[in-house]
C-alpha cells in the first residue's frame, strides 16, 4: 500500500539541501504553504533559489525565510509590495539576487518545466528591459522572446484536501501556482488542511493528480 502521507512538516522537508531550487506556491498569502516554510526555516538550509510570485509579505512565511538568510536568489514577478520590507532591505543591501519575470512568463516557464518542453517563444516582454539580452524571433508578424523552463528540485504548495496517493484539490483562488509548480518539481510536498480517504475525491474534480505529488502533510487549522 502506497502512502504519501508524511507525519510532519519537519519530516517532509528533511531532504531539502543547501543550494536547492524550490518552487513555493501562493499568490501573496493565498495558497502560501506557511507551515512548510516554517519547517524549512528551522532546517536552516542555505543558498536556496526560491520561485514564487512575490517576495514575501510582512514578517511571516516566505518573508521570514528571506529574513533567516536562507535565500540566495528569488525569481518572481512582483517583489515590491506595501509589506515586502524584508525583501526590500535585503535587495537594497545587495544581499539577495532578484530575477523579475512577467507573471504569465513565470507561469509558462513553470509549465514548460513540468511538461518537458525545451523552450518557448512568448510575446510577453518583447522590446522591454525584461527581454534584454534574450533571443527573439518574429513569427507570423508577431515578435516573441525565447524563454527557458523553470524546474524545481522541490515544490512546497498548499492545498485544501489530499489523499494517500497524493491527489489534491484546492480552495478558491489559493489554487494559483500550486498545480503547475507540483508538475514542474522533482519532489513536491503539499500541505493540506484535510487528509481524506482514497476515493473520497471525485476523479472528475481532482485538480492535481498524485503523479505530481510526493508527500502530503496534514496541517490543521491554527488554534
Amino acid at each position: 500500500m502506497l502512502n504519501k502521507i508524511t507525519k510532519s512538516a519537519t519530516e517532509a522537508i528533511s531532504n531539502i539541501h543547501d543550494g536547492a531550487t524550490i518552487l513555493i506556491g501562493g499568490f501573496g498569502l493565498a495558497g502560501q504553504p506557511a507551515e512548510l516554510i516554517d519547517a524549512l526555516i528551522e532546517r536552516n538550509a542555505k543558498d536556496l533559489t526560491i520561485v514564487n510570485n512575490n517576495a514575501g509579505n510582512g514578517d511571516t512565511g516566505l518573508a521570514a525565510l528571506l529574513k533567516a538568510g536562507c535565500v540566495r536568489k528569488i525569481i518572481c514577478s512582483f517583489p515590491r509590495q506595501h509589506d515586502s520590507y524584508i525583501f526590500d532591505d535585503l535587495y537594497r543591501a545587495g544581499k539577495i539576487e532578484l530575477e523579475v519575470v512577467p507573471q504569465g512568463t513565470l507561469a509558462a516557464r513553470i509549465q514548460a518545466g513540468g511538461s518537458g518542453l525545451g523552450a518557448i517563444y512568448t510575446p510577453t516582454a518583447y522590446g522591454t528591459l525584461l527581454a534584454e539580452g534574450k533571443e527573439t524571433r518574429t513569427i507570423d508578424g508577431v515578435n516573441y522572446v525565447l524563454e527557458y523552463p523553470i524546474k524545481g528540485d522541490f515544490a512546497l504548495i498548499k492545498a485544501l484536501k489530499g489523499d494517500r496517493w497524493g491527489n489534491l484539490i484546492y480552495n478558491k483562488a489559493a489554487r494559483n501556482f500550486g498545480p503547475i509548480m507540483a508538475a514542474a518539481s522533482s519532489h513536491t510536498i503539499a500541505q493540506v488542511s484535510e487528509v481524506v480517504e482514497l476515493g473520497a475525491l471525485d476523479p472528475e474534480h481532482i485538480v492535481t493528480p498524485g503523479i505530481f505529488v510526493h508527500e502530503v502533510v496534514h496541517i490543521g487549522a491554527k488554534a
Binding site: 495558497g31 523579475v100 507573471q103 509558462a108 509549465q111 522591454t128 515578435n143 478558491k172 494559483n176
Partner: protein, 217 residues
C-alpha cells in the same frame, strides 16, 4: 489663471470607462485606479471580470466579516465570485490573457506614447525595485487595452507623449486613453480626441499633452 472646468474624479473616469464596456465582454481591470471601473458596471448586463490569479466572474467586495483570504484579486483585495464564475490555475489564467481571450484590459499608466506604447511597470530610478506582475502579459495579450490615468503627472508633466521616457511595458498596444480631461483613441493616424470634459477647449487639452492630438470630438 481662471479655469472653466473641473477635471473628472477617479470615479468619474471609471464611470466613463464602464460606459464603453459591452455585455458579454471578458475584462481584466488592472491594479489601482482601473479596479474602480467594477463599481460602475451595469447590474443588468453580464460582463465577466477576470483576475490573473485564477478567477473568472469576480463579483463585488464581500460584506464586512465575509472576507476570505483565499478569495482575492490580483491587487490582493478581498472579492466575491458570481454564480457562473470559476477558479483555475495560473497557467490557464495566463493562457486566457496571452492567448487573446480577454476582450479588454484596463490598465493604469505612467506614460502612453502616440503609437500606443505604454509604460506602467517601472520608474527605473536607482531606489526603485522592478516589479512587473501581469502588466506585460496584459499589455500584449488583451484584444483591446484601455488606459486610465491622470492627463498630467503630479508635477504637471504630460503623460501622453511622442516617445516614452520610462521603461516600456508593451509596444503599440494601447487602443484608448481615458484621463481626467479627455477620452482619446490611439489610431493609425494619431491620437484622436473623442471627448473633452466640459469647459476645456481642444487647444487647452493640446497644451497639456506631449504629442499631437487630432480633434475628433
Amino acid at each position: 489663471m481662471i479655469t472653466n472646468y473641473t477635471p473628472w474624479s477617479v470615479d468619474e473616469i471609471a464611470r466613463r470607462v464602464a460606459e464603453d464596456i459591452e455585455e458579454g465582454m471578458y475584462v481584466n481591470l488592472g491594479i489601482g485606479q482601473p479596479t474602480k471601473v467594477a463599481d460602475f458596471l451595469p447590474d443588468d448586463k453580464d460582463i465577466f471580470l477576470h483576475s490573473e490569479n485564477g478567477v473568472l466572474g469576480m463579483g463585488p467586495e464581500p460584506a464586512e466579516g465575509k472576507e476570505d483570504g483565499d478569495l482575492i484579486n490580483a491587487g490582493k483585495q478581498y472579492i466575491t465570485l458570481l454564480e457562473g464564475g470559476s477558479y483555475f490555475h495560473h497557467g490557464d489564467s495566463f493562457a486566457m490573457i496571452r492567448g487573446g481571450h480577454i476582450d479588454l484590459c484596463v490598465l493604469g499608466a505612467f506614460e502612453v506614447a502616440e503609437n500606443g506604447d505604454i509604460a506602467n511597470w517601472f520608474l527605473g530610478r536607482p531606489q526603485d525595485i522592478p516589479a512587473v506582475g501581469g502588466a506585460m502579459d496584459l499589455a500584449v495579450g488583451a484584444k483591446e487595452v484601455y488606459v486610465m490615468m491622470d492627463h498630467v503627472s503630479k508635477n504637471g508633466e504630460p503623460k501622453i507623449v511622442e516617445n516614452l521616457k520610462l521603461p516600456i511595458t508593451g509596444e503599440k498596444c494601447v487602443n484608448r486613453i481615458y484621463t481626467d480631461l479627455a477620452v482619446i483613441n490611439v489610431t493609425d493616424k494619431g491620437l484622436a480626441v473623442r471627448e473633452i470634459i466640459d469647459g476645456l477647449t481642444f487647444e487647452e487639452l493640446q497644451a497639456k499633452t506631449g504629442a499631437k492630438l487630432i480633434n475628433n470630438t
